[in-house]
């Protein structure tokens, strides 16, 4: 059984690696420079997939939190927690690459547009998730609390997005991404999205596997003590 897992993991890592190389090639060599954006606009091809994956990660945490509260097996919680960690990492990247792109492109580091602001609030909610888990003494309680936050926090996402959207449409200083996507741009974006999704899957498998291992070690230690 483990052999199958190792084969699957190996294939996924390999696939991820190849996709990333392809993505880099497409972003830097294949796709032409966009008319209005200049070369900085190429940040878009990684910024958007990273944002997409961060939302995916928190959705996965939401689903697996429900599964954990229902079935109470460590393996569900391991995925929920791993996904929240990876989600925070990716959200951090969104919040860093966004301003790095915005400054040369539009002259400002930060704007309170709906997507960036929602990412910021998301970051805060899931950092709180990780803090609570870290600061709760007993592991099964930490998992339970995490699950509650994972569910309640995710419900907030559409509400925050809608509210901020409404708030900001009253102040038309928002930045509009002009122009549509030509087909080389779309193709590049698609490859990048797939590449980062595979990266996400691979990271989750590793991280959740380690958490399951940690739980197993704890169980063995308790058994030994008896």
């Amino acid at each position: 059984m483990n052999g199958n897992h190792n084969l699957r993991n190996g294939i996924l890592w390999g696939l991820g690696f190849v996709l990333m190389i392809a993505a880099l090639y497409m972003v830097f060599a294949y796709v032409p420079t966009e008319k209005h954006g200049g070369i900085v606009q190429r940040i878009f091809y990684f910024h958007v997939p990273v944002a997409w994956v961060s939302f995916l990660a928190f959705f996965v945490t939401f689903i697996y939190s429900i599964l954990y509260l229902w079935k109470r097996e460590t393996k569900w919680d391991a995925v929920a927690c791993a996904s929240a960690e990876v989600g925070v990492i990716f959200t951090t990247l969104v919040l860093i690459t966004g301003p790095i792109w915005a400054k040369p492109a539009w002259g400002i580091w930060w704007t309170w547009d709906a997507r960036l602001t929602t990412s910021l609030v998301l970051w805060l909610i899931y950092v709180a998730y990780l803090l609570v888990r870290g600061l709760t003494g007993e592991p099964s309680r930490a998992a339970r609390y995490g699950a509650v936050i994972g569910i309640v926090g995710f419900i907030d996402v559409p509400i925050v997005f809608l509210t901020v959207n409404l708030w900001r449409t009253q102040h038309p200083t928002t930045i509009i991404f002009e122009g549509g996507l030509t087909s080389p741009m779309l193709a590049t974006l698609m490859v990048c999205i797939v590449a980062f999704t595979v990266l996400y899957i691979v990271l989750i498998i590793q991280s959740a596997g380690l958490k399951n291992l940690e739980a197993e070690i704890r169980r063995l230690r308790i058994m030994k003590a008896e």
Binding site: G38, T92, L93
Partner: protein, 45 residues
């Protein structure tokens, strides 16, 4: 080629963070494997 610095900075950050996390996972894996081996040894005794 204006703003090339920004472009490179953005990509550098992404790769640094992703590889950093992968390294963290690898180190944790090594540490846990040592713990498992130690436990197995002591249980065989």
């Amino acid at each position: 080629m204006e703003n090339l610095g920004y472009l490179l900075a953005a990509y550098a950050v992404i790769w640094a963070v992703v590889f950093g996390y992968i390294l963290v996972l690898l180190r944790k894996q090594r540490k846990l494997k040592k713990q498992v081996d130690a436990l197995k040894e002591s249980m065989e005794k």
